[in-house]
């Protein structure tokens, strides 16, 4: 087909599958996110953490290297559920920074430029739009959490043997389900903030503020009222509590430690539901101005 045809003519070729249209949004949004050098560099740093953990696993199974490092007397059994829990905990913190940087740019430019009517006048639903944007964050977080986490688990299983792997299956489950929790909570918060704040910098700041201010407020409430319910405002603490529960571990002493994993999970579900409400309220082709 010639590029410079100057007459209008209708399109009569094949159409793509309507169910996979959200993937188009994913592709364009992913390109936009990865265009940032910071995001690319930061992803590499996040993956370096996995490399370090892989190196530790490898060293723990090498008698020569252990001897060289003068830790020959130490048991290699320290690679257990808590080892992977710590890996996920580090990646949870790093993922927050990544999401705070990449998340706000997903929806806010569309709102700032009033582009939503152009999306929704096409055969694309609001749910598909959100799914397309969500999938960018889901892939980004997956790349630094459960994908390297399960690879580390596989490496350890390969070196330690099948009996170790079968005995520590709960760690693998913790890695995967814990990452799913992070993906859901971080993405919901990032998309909600992105949908309500048109400036990317402001949206990123608000996202980090939700975690840090919530944590501080929770501690203050607990200290002044002598209760442990302030931990419900500490989203980071709630995530840690749920992930620790999935690994079958007790979290470190923090504001949420008195809250059961199930209650923390319910609190996170409420947070996600509230975020979905905010997103649903905002992602519309046209706003109805109440009079």
């Amino acid at each position: 087909m010639a590029v410079r045809k100057r007459t209008y003519h209708a399109y009569s070729g094949p159409l793509t599958n309507a169910r996979t249209r959200f993937a188009i949004l994913f592709r364009y949004s992913w390109d936009n996110v990865m265009r940032s050098r910071f995001t690319s560099a930061y992803l590499v740093v996040c993956l370096l953490v996995a490399v370090v953990f892989a190196a530790i696993i490898y060293v723990s199974h090498s008698a020569i290297l252990m001897a060289l490092l003068r830790v020959a007397g130490h048991s290699k059994d320290f690679v257990d559920a808590s080892f992977f829990y710590h890996f996920i905990q580090i990646e949870v913190g790093m993922a927050l920074i990544l999401v705070a940087f990449a998340g706000p740019g997903l929806i806010s430019p569309d709102l700032a430029n009033q582009a939503l009517p152009l999306y929704f006048c096409r055969p694309l639903s609001r749910a598909e739009y959100v799914l397309g944007k969500f999938s960018v964050l889901a892939v980004l977080i997956s790349v630094i959490t459960w994908l390297p986490g399960l690879m580390l688990f596989a490496l350890q299983g390969n070196l330690a043997g099948w009996s170790w792997a079968s005995a520590h299956l709960q760690a693998a489950r913790g890695i995967f389900l814990g990452s799913v929790v992070i993906i859901l909570v971080y993405s919901a918060l990032a998309l909600a903030v992105s949908a309500w704040f048109r400036r990317k910098v402001l949206a990123g700041g608000v996202l980090l503020g939700v975690f840090f201010v919530g944590s501080g407020l929770g501690h203050t409430l607990d200290a002044t009222l002598g209760t442990h319910w302030g931990g419900l405002l500490n989203i980071g603490g709630l995530i840690a509590r749920v992930i620790a529960g999935l690994f079958g571990l007790q979290p470190g002493h923090n504001a949420s430690s008195a809250i059961s994993p199930a209650m923390a999970g319910v609190a996170l579900l409420v947070v996600c539901a509230f975020c979905l409400y905010l997103i649903e309220h905002r992602i519309r082709a046209r706003e109805v101005v109440r009079q």
Binding site: M1, K5, R6, A10, L15, I24, A115, C121, Q291
Partner: protein
């Protein structure tokens, strides 16, 4: 010609306010104009047809598809150029239009080709690799038109396409709209409060007032059906011709020299005028009907709520 839009008792409420009130009718035409004063419900009607607003009551069909249960099919067949600025500023025009074409269902390669074609077609070929945020107002309007037609829709809805354009840019936009219309490959709905835009592009017009359709007509037929104003030059008149014409029930005014303007009554037979002229030996030269302009039609529609389809 099958109906482009069918309205079946369609009402739309935004908050407590009824913006569209029980609209009915079947509308066809290659290019349908939507006219009305501000707040008449033009944009609300467009937004409802695209599924942005849910009907409070009743329903509508666009190209035969129901807007409540088959909105995906409606959207797949439609292209939409919104009134306000609507784009993604950090994208180049070709990327933006390619994205929009892909979202309409075109495969990647076809979408890229159509994006280039659409941009060349609207006259933005040389600027297609520039970011949209750097475009002037006129260029943004053209880019919006390009994204509305890039996927080859069967219906293009243009909401105030000449908004904010200077006269040459407006002329260019109108010319493009007419060119697209004349290809005969699609239908257009042109929403505007500028009578001239509608007059120059549309062959049918829907006039809305306070959420109701107060007039719908084929413009050409309407003009032909209302030959009520007559301009003529009369030679050899001794002064009695005007009086005689007035006795036929016409309103007659001398417009200087031999020229006369006459408003004909309903069901007037022109032969009566010729007979009176023959009796007085008056020569009638340059006899012409002044057709109703769209402005006349619009003003009439605004005066009374008659003529509902």
């Amino acid at each position: 010609m099958s109906a482009v839009i069918q309205l079946d008792n369609l009402s739309v409420r935004l908050g407590p306010k009824t913006v569209l009130d029980r609209l009915n009718g079947s509308f066809s035409g290659r290019c349908i104009g939507l006219l009305g004063p501000n707040g008449a419900g033009k944009s609300t009607l467009i937004n409802t047809l695209l599924g942005f607003y849910k009907p409070f009551q009743g329903s509508a069909r666009v190209l035969g598809f129901r807007i409540d249960s088959e909105i995906r099919q409606v959207r797949a067949l439609a292209g939409y150029m919104p009134e306000h600025e609507s784009f993604i500023g950090h994208m180049t025009a070709v990327t933006f239009i390619r994205l929009m074409a892909e979202l309409s269902g075109l495969p990647k390669q076809a979408a890229l080709e159509r994006a280039h074609e659409a941009l060349f077609y609207v006259g933005l070929g040389e600027a297609r690799y520039r970011k949209l945020a750097t475009y002037s107002q006129g260029m943004k309007q053209l880019a919006k038109l390009a994204q509305a037609i890039a996927h080859g829709p069967r219906l293009v809805i243009l909401d105030e396409p000449t908004n904010g354009l200077d006269p040459p840019a407006r002329q260019r936009m109108i010319r493009l709209v007419r060119e697209i219309r004349d290809t005969g490959e699609l239908h257009l709905i042109l929403c505007s409060h500028l009578l001239r835009d509608v007059e120059e592009c549309c062959d049918a017009v829907i006039i809305l007032r306070e959420g109701q359709i107060v007039h719908y007509s084929n413009l050409e037929e309407e003009r032909r059906a209302n030959p009520r104003f007559l301009e003529m030059e009369a030679y050899g008149d001794d002064g009695s011709f005007a009086e005689a014409v007035a006795q036929l029930g016409c309103e007659c005014a001398l417009a200087g020299g031999r020229r006369m303007k006459i408003i004909l009554p309903e069901r007037f037979e022109m032969s009566a005028l010729f007979r009176v002229a023959a009796e007085r030996n008056v020569q009638l030269r340059r006899l012409s009907f002044r057709r109703d302009s769209l402005e006349d039609i619009f003003l009439k529609a605004m005066e009374g709520a008659n003529g509902r389809p």
